[in-house]
């Protein structure tokens, strides 16, 4: 498995798009900077700024979309250049292949959210919108790491669909549908979609103003994510098994 992960890193050489995509981590912190600059407020509650910069659109839209794109990128070349048959006769285990891709998505998600956290601190503390406090920074980093890990798991269905397809258009459509479904399902039922489950977990204890639920059911949120994850792995295993 480690060998597969190591090889996955080797495959990413000269993929500049991967680095460019990381710039998306600055988008919401920058918008938060503009927004609070426009309001002209200083010494605002840190969680309020971080809700804008990290716990809002970054969680629901940007990071899932970036991870969906990454999943497609990781798998598309191998499909396009008909490389899988060369990998299978090495032999590479199909489940190992799937999890090595997931591991890259997971690490990328961590990097993305660490950059997002750093950008959030920079854009909030330097213009003095938020007072510099280790507690609030620790809270931000902790939740960002949680978002990173959980969103990587939430990207499993997209990864599973991507490995089951030869093209990239269908996985891309599924990515968009999946993300927007999460966005729209959340107000109806927060435990149906992995992305809404993440919002339940992240906003636990009313820590994030505005997206706190009345009675958050954390076990149910984790259970829902597990069901989605298991179903995705099963789909990937079945479809990879069928693919030659």
């Amino acid at each position: 498995m480690l060998k597969l992960v190591e090889v996955e890193f080797c495959k990413l050489r000269r993929k500049k798009v991967m680095w460019i995509m990381l710039l998306a981590a600055f988008v919401m912190p920058f918008f938060a900077f503009l927004y609070f600059g426009y309001l002209g407020k200083t010494n605002i509650e840190p969680a309020l700024f971080y809700k804008w910069s990290a716990f809002g659109c970054t969680l629901f839209l940007i990071l899932p979309f970036i991870l969906g794109l990454l999943s497609i990128m990781l798998i598309h070349d191998e499909n396009q250049y008909d490389m899988l048959k060369q990998l299978w006769i090495v032999p590479v285990s199909k489940i190992g292949y799937f999890f090595s891709k997931f591991f890259i998505v997971f690490l990328y998600s961590l990097c993305f959210m660490i950059i997002n956290a750093a950008a959030s601190v920079l854009f909030s503390v330097i213009p003095n919108y938020v007072a510099f406090e280790w507690n609030s920074i620790a809270f931000l980093v902790e939740r960002c790491l949680e978002i990173a890990g959980l969103t990587a798991f939430a990207a499993l269905p997209v990864l599973a669909v991507t490995v089951s397809q030869k093209g990239y258009i269908f996985p891309m459509c599924i990515t968009l549908i999946y993300i927007f479904a999460g966005f729209f399902i959340t107000p109806v039922n927060s435990y149906l979609h992995p992305l809404s489950c993440i919002s339940v977990i992240i906003s636990r204890g009313g820590a994030v103003p505005g997206i706190a639920l009345l009675e958050p059911n954390l076990p149910l949120a984790f259970f829902s994510m597990c069901v989605w994850g298991i179903a995705s792995v099963a789909l990937a295993v079945v479809t990879l098994g069928k693919r030659k």
Binding site: K3, L4, E6, V7, C10, K11, R13, R14, K15, D77, E78, Y81, D82, M83, K85, Q86, L87, W88, I89, V90, P91, V92, K244
Partner: protein, 307 residues
């Protein structure tokens, strides 16, 4: 253990109602080069894919080293090097980087395995050119380098000379021959180019429309190809009349308006020439010939030729 490294029994592949490979019994002997010859779409690649377990078998079986690949992948694959169809590699990586990936995945222990494999196929080591910029011939060479990277006992090469220039084809032929004669590798090679197979293979399987029409050694095949006297004359009907009446020739065939083949090679060619000239028939050429492999292929496939 049998000396057959690859063996298929009644190997069949169907896509819906279409049978693309029909009850193929193939036998590849240890240390031999087996040439699978057939036109495009004859089913060569499908047979190779079924042997490698890359496509499902509808019925029959395919065994490598006496075992079915399914369930024995970890034991059998490391002993096989294969290149099926156009070789695919990561477009953003150089040839060396691509091979290093496969060397890592295979756990190739030799530190200079990549360098050696590239040297063998004539590609530069640590070149900066990325795979997407490679020519078709370079891609093909890299595919072969990948197949031999881990020093496998068996090589399965699907049309390995596709896209190579004439010098490259000759080099590849020499290299494949060397692998078999000097290193004792067993090689299953497919091609639609008859001359390639004729120059390379120890054994040959002729496949047409998914059916293995003939399987024999090249030596046997050469024996089977009949010798004949080829006559090129100005008047074929008159020549035939003379051959039948004066020489009692019955086994002959008319090729065209000027050419006759006589399959009784015991006849005195000098006498035939003399009689024909005396009968005012111009003898343009005469001599003893052998059927070429192409003629043979044409004959057993029902008149359709090959490249």
């Amino acid at each position: 253990m049998s000396d057959r490294i690859i063996e298929t029994k009644q190997l069949t592949k169907k896509y819906g109602n279409q049978t693309v490979v029909n009850s193929v019994n193939l036998h590849v002997k240890k240390g031999h080069i087996y040439g699978l010859l057939g036109r495009n779409g004859a089913g060569k690649t499908t047979i190779m894919k079924m042997i490698l377990g890359l496509t499902s078998i509808t019925s029959g079986s395919a065994e490598v080293f006496g075992k079915n690949i399914k369930g024995n992948e970890k034991r059998i694959y490391p002993r096989i090097g294969a290149m099926i169809e156009a070789p695919g590699f990561y477009p953003n990586l150089t040839g060396t980087e691509n091979l290093e990936i496969f060397a890592k995945l295979r756990g190739t222990s030799a530190p200079d395995a990549v360098k050696k494999a590239l040297e063998v196929v004539g590609l530069p080591y640590r070149d900066k050119k990325i795979f997407s910029k490679y020519s078709l011939g370079m891609k093909q060479r890299l595919g072969i380098a990948n197949a031999i990277l881990h020093d496998p006992e068996v090589l399965i090469l699907d049309e390995p000379t596709n896209g190579l220039d004439p010098i490259g084809i000759a080099q590849m032929r020499e290299f494949i021959k060397k692998l078999s004669t000097e290193n004792g590798k067993t090689i299953l090679i497919s091609s639609h180019i008859l001359s390639e197979i004729a120059l390379l293979a120890d054994d040959i399987g002729i496949i047409d429309k998914g059916v293995l029409l003939e399987e024999s050694s090249m030596k046997e095949l050469e024996k089977k190809n009949r010798k004949y006297i080829l006559l090129q004359v100005s008047d074929v009907p008159k020549t035939i009349l003379i051959l039948e009446r004066r020489f009692q020739v019955k086994d002959y065939s008319v090729q065209d308006e000027q050419t006759v083949r006589i399959y009784d090679t015991e006849l005195n060619m000098g006498e035939i020439n003399k009689v024909l000239v005396m009968e005012a028939i111009a003898v343009l050429s005469s001599g003893i010939c052998n059927d070429t492999l192409e003629d043979y292929f044409r004959k057993i496939t029902g008149g359709e030729g090959i490249a």
